[in-house]
């Protein structure tokens, strides 16, 4: 079966990824929390979020934000793209009713000592002009049509 694949050689520092826009709903917030087994009430209980925490509503939980970033990255790379590392910082919350937009820019590309091809990216999760979460990601890409980062193990995988 042929699947789309982004090659490392097709990527350059400064490349911008297409933005992903999502109309956030309470259902998506709750589904994301339950899918990640995060039972804390601020991610599903409106009254708790408003009256106990002083927020305007329930909000996206951390693992679900990671899943949104992962989906965004592999939309771009196809299934051969392999995540190595993500660091993200939450600055503010994403609530139901928000239009969440994820942007990404390639910061640098490199190959490591085992010839694995890497792209480092800076991502943002925004609502309007506000950056709600910033993420730095390191992602392995095939260096040739026959390369597959998923086959790397041990010393050949240095995320």
């Amino acid at each position: 079966m042929t699947t789309p694949r982004l090659l490392w050689s097709d990527v350059s520092a400064g490349d911008e990824l297409p933005p992903l826009s999502v109309n956030m709903t309470a259902t998506l917030v709750v589904l994301g929390a339950m899918a990640s087994r995060d039972w804390r009430p601020m991610h599903h209980d409106h009254a708790f979020a408003v009256h106990r925490q002083g927020l305007k509503d329930i909000f996206l939980n951390t693992p679900n934000q990671a899943a949104w970033f992962e989906r965004y990255l592999t939309d771009w790379t196809g299934p051969h793209g392999r995540l190595g590392r993500m660091t993200f910082r939450m600055r503010a919350s994403v609530f139901p009713g928000d239009t969440m937009v994820i942007h990404g820019t390639v910061r640098e590309v490199e190959t490591d000592a085992s010839a694995c091809g890497w792209a480092a990216l800076d991502l943002t999760m925004r609502v309007g002009d506000d950056v709600k979460t910033a993420c730095a990601a390191r992602l392995a890409l095939p260096t040739t049509p026959d390369d597959n980062p998923w086959t790397r193990r041990g010393e050949r995988w240095s995320p």
Binding site: M1, T3, A35, S36, N64, A66, A67, P79, R85
Partner: protein, 173 residues
């Protein structure tokens, strides 16, 4: 983050020590993989098409960012009373410093061996550092860094997660 000056001896004794080593209550299963993909509308064929997964990853895998979910306890199970806490060191720090509120600030995930359906994941938590008292717009409290190491039933590291938590007391609280 600071050194250990000003920290209670009980906290100093916890720094760098593996704690709460646990094995998951259930094996990795595809229902959660599909729910995770559904929640973010992820159509990556690795998670939906077994032929693609066989070709690229040698069989089905879980999305890497599901790392922590396999160790999250059931909300309730027989013999356990009350809410069960996932990142227990985080809650330990809240209790030690009597800080009623907390947030997670930075979160780093590093992915190693893929997690596959049927795997049984284990983890351990390590307190790396605790800051001096800080005042943010949220309130006054402390930052702490916690690493969580994950491995599979063969002892292979599948990931490491690092959290920066801030426990605090709101103004007037």
């Amino acid at each position: 983050m600071s050194g250990t000056a000003g920290l209670p001896p009980s906290v100093v004794a916890m720094l760098g020590v593996r704690q709460y080593e646990e094995t998951a209550e259930f094996p990795v299963e595809r229902g959660y993989i599909w729910n995770t993909c559904a929640a973010v509308q992820n159509d990556n064929p690795l998670y939906w098409d077994d032929a693609v997964a066989a070709e690229i990853t040698g069989g089905p895998i879980a999305p890497p960012t599901t790392l922590s979910l396999w160790m999250r306890p059931h909300y309730w199970s027989p013999g356990h009373e009350g809410e069960r806490l996932a990142l227990r060191l985080h809650f330990d720090m809240k209790a030690v410093f009597d800080l009623p509120e907390a947030i997670i600030g930075d979160n780093t995930l590093v992915f190693h061996e893929p997690v596959r359906p049927g795997d049984v994941i284990s983890h351990a938590q390590v307190l790396r550092s605790v800051s001096d008292v800080k005042t943010l717009h949220l309130g006054t409290g402390r930052w702490w860094n916690i690493d969580v190491e994950y491995w599979n039933q063969r002892g292979e590291t599948v990931g490491v997660e690092s959290y920066a938590g801030f426990g605090y007391r709101k103004p007037g609280q």
